[in-house]
């Protein structure tokens, strides 16, 4: 409807959230949030003067995974580990050469200490320290039997660039903000200002009024999605392997539960402060935490896993990642679409029922 469209254009704050916020979020996900850990700061405590020990220390310094602070005494690195300026340190003991020579002592060749308060990074430090050691051992002593190894191949994202799956996920978060938060606020404001009463006295049915209100936000959502997608492809260099029309179809279907949720929130709260609280608690944060975007849904405990089915973003994140990185995989897209439609129907149904009692109170 034209009215809402004009209002969106007139109100700079709405434009801000529809245009600026998505760009900020996308930008941050593309550049600030990166799950590819590189250049982790560690210390290497070289307690031995042997040539072999120095060669191993050099191997640590040489890898692109670590940014090494070389020291002689472990007392220098312990405070730094506690303060968080180092994420771990490797100790090459004084008797490193002897241990290396004697097969029976090789059980503890070096020590790797990590900062377990950041489990992700700690894990990384441990794994890559072992890798460096293994690599160094192979080049240092040739007689070792080669151990079986995994040769990983990453489908759909060969260079395992985390941006490739973070950006589609971030799009889902952005669309949740536009769909749910904005609708909740706008409709709550109408209640606050009393414009709802005037509209309801016209012969247009309540549902028509609301659909009329939601339609511009639907279009705004689709537009924002197209702009964000273009941005993702061109600036952030995320491939789009699926088709545009499947992307728009999925987005349209996602906007149904997202707008429905926003509408429901506004009907229930009728007040902008409570509406924003609700939108935050039931829309934005779950889109972040429970959508499978940052954390694997399969690994969550079952009650939480069940609960994620009520989060529209869950279906959208999975669909978007597939559309961007894999292609139009209909066996995966269709069930997600059904999920979003079903949730949308539930939200609208409840909103409608609650609305009928709205003036009597």
């Amino acid at each position: 409807m034209r009215k809402e469209t004009l209002q969106i254009l007139r109100d700079p704050s709405t434009l801000l959230i529809a245009a600026v916020l998505p760009i900020i979020i996308l930008f941050l996900f593309a550049y600030a949030v990166s799950l590819d850990i590189r250049q982790v700061r560690i210390g290497v405590v070289l307690e031995s003067n042997d040539a072999s020990a120095q060669s191993l220390a050099a191997a640590f310094s040489g890898t692109r995974y670590f940014l090494v602070t070389p020291v002689r005494d472990r007392r220098e690195v312990v405070p730094k580990l506690i303060a968080g300026t180092l994420r771990g340190f490797v100790v090459i003991p004084p008797d490193f050469d002897q241990r290396l020579a004697s097969p029976r002592l090789r059980g503890g060749l070096i020590q790797v200490i990590t900062d377990g308060s950041q489990p992700n990074t700690a894990n990384f430090v441990a794994v890559y320290a072992q890798n460096v050691l293994a690599g160094w051992l192979v080049s240092y002593q040739t007689q070792a039997t080669p151990a079986p190894v995994w040769v990983p191949r990453f489908w759909f994202n060969q260079d395992i660039d985390s941006r490739h799956f973070l950006v589609p996920g971030a799009l889902a978060v952005v669309m949740t903000i536009i769909g749910t938060l904005l609708t909740a606020l706008v409709v709550a404001r109408e209640w606050e200002r009393g414009t709802m009463e005037a509209l309801m006295s016209t012969s247009v049915s309540v549902m028509e009024i609301l659909l009329g209100k939601l339609l511009p936000y639907f279009v705004l959502g689709l537009l924002a999605m197209m702009i964000a997608t273009l941005l993702s492809i061109t600036v952030f260099e995320v491939p789009l392997r699926g088709s545009w029309w499947a992307l728009l179809l999925t987005t349209s279907l996602f906007l149904i539960p997202a707008l429905g949720q926003g509408l429901l929130i506004s009907v229930l709260s009728k007040n902008q402060f409570i509406a924003s609280q609700f939108a935050l608690i039931t829309g934005y944060l779950p889109a972040f935490m429970l959508s499978g975007f940052l954390f694997e849904i399969d690994s969550m405990p079952w009650p939480v896993r069940m609960f994620t089915h009520l989060v529209p973003a869950r279906y959208f994140v999975s669909s978007l990642q597939t559309l961007f990185l894999v292609g139009d995989v209909w066996p995966l897209l269709l069930p997600n679409m059904l999920g979003m439609l079903g949730l949308g129907a539930v939200f609208f149904f409840i909103a409608r029922r609650k609305l009928h009692k709205s003036l009597e109170a």
């Binding site: 060749l109 441990a126 040769v151 990453f154 759909f156 402060f273 609280q277």
Partner: protein, 370 residues
Amino acid sequence: MTWFSPAMRALIIKELLSVLRDPKSRILLIVPPLAQLIVFSFAATLELTRADIAVYNQDNGAWSRLCVERVAHASFVHQMYPVYSETAIRQLIATKQVMAAIVIPNTASSDEAAGRSVQLQIILDGRRANSDQILLGYLTEILARLNAEPVNASPTISDLAVTRHWFNPNLIYQWFVVPGVGGILVTFITLLLTALSIARERELGTFDQLLVSPCTPGEMIVAKMVPALLIGMVLGILMTGAAAFLFQVPFVGSYVGLLLSMLLYILSVNGIGLMLSALCNTQQQAILGTFTLVVPSVLMSGFATPVENMPAFLQWVDQANPLKYYLIILQGSFLKNLPAAVVWANDWPLLVIAVVTLTTATVFVRGRLQ
């Protein structure tokens, strides 16, 4: 003392009542954040517990069967899908039925027996690169143990590099997540509370009433801080308690240090909220403004990914992000017994942010009396 003048007291009581008088809003302030802490803490896990894996075993040898069996019995594996073609793998992965597929070439067992190098293929779903890395780590460990079993008992690489994870020996992910989620939720609530406080009065017309009253802008700002400070502290302490007792995250640091830092942190968030509120004319602007601020500050706080991974420019911007400092103190207090000097090193930026933003907010309010 102006702090306890009747006007000051009246303002403070008014602010407290506006937030806390209604039992429903009291509940809304405390219960959802706690519920979210619990749900999110269980949800935010980077461990894998239920991985589905496809196996394409082209080899008939005993070693390859042993290998598959070991993987199948690993605790993180939920189900194995035997497949017999690459197309089948592609289909299973594309539809997300499996996380990864193992391909064992037909020469694997014979190569292993002959002491030649064995290369097993693992195909991973690039859409979940984070889980991929973890899965790869788990599988490497299995292969290493399998290799170490025979009689020659050559030590595995993980035996050679003795690894100790300080502060969190078993790398329990919740120990990391719970304090952080608690901190973020406190941020959201206190920021929203303060950001709306002035904007709401302006929208309802009571702000004019305040401006013509003898209350000074400084008094108004201090009074507006009180409820958010109080609720923030209560919530912060509740969150800390829930982390320590409900989630059993060990707390080895100093309570006093944490409480002091919490106070400074909430002050700085209040300052930001009030500054925003003094600038906005409507509640809607204030809410949208809050979002525009809080989303980046959470993303750049070091909670999702380490700060040092960010580009230098963003790290520089991040110096003004109070959440970054607070998370260091919070996580450090729980697990590390952070020395007072380190706590202080992260406290003083909070203090600077609080002083700057609160002063600016007061100036803005005074400026509104144009």
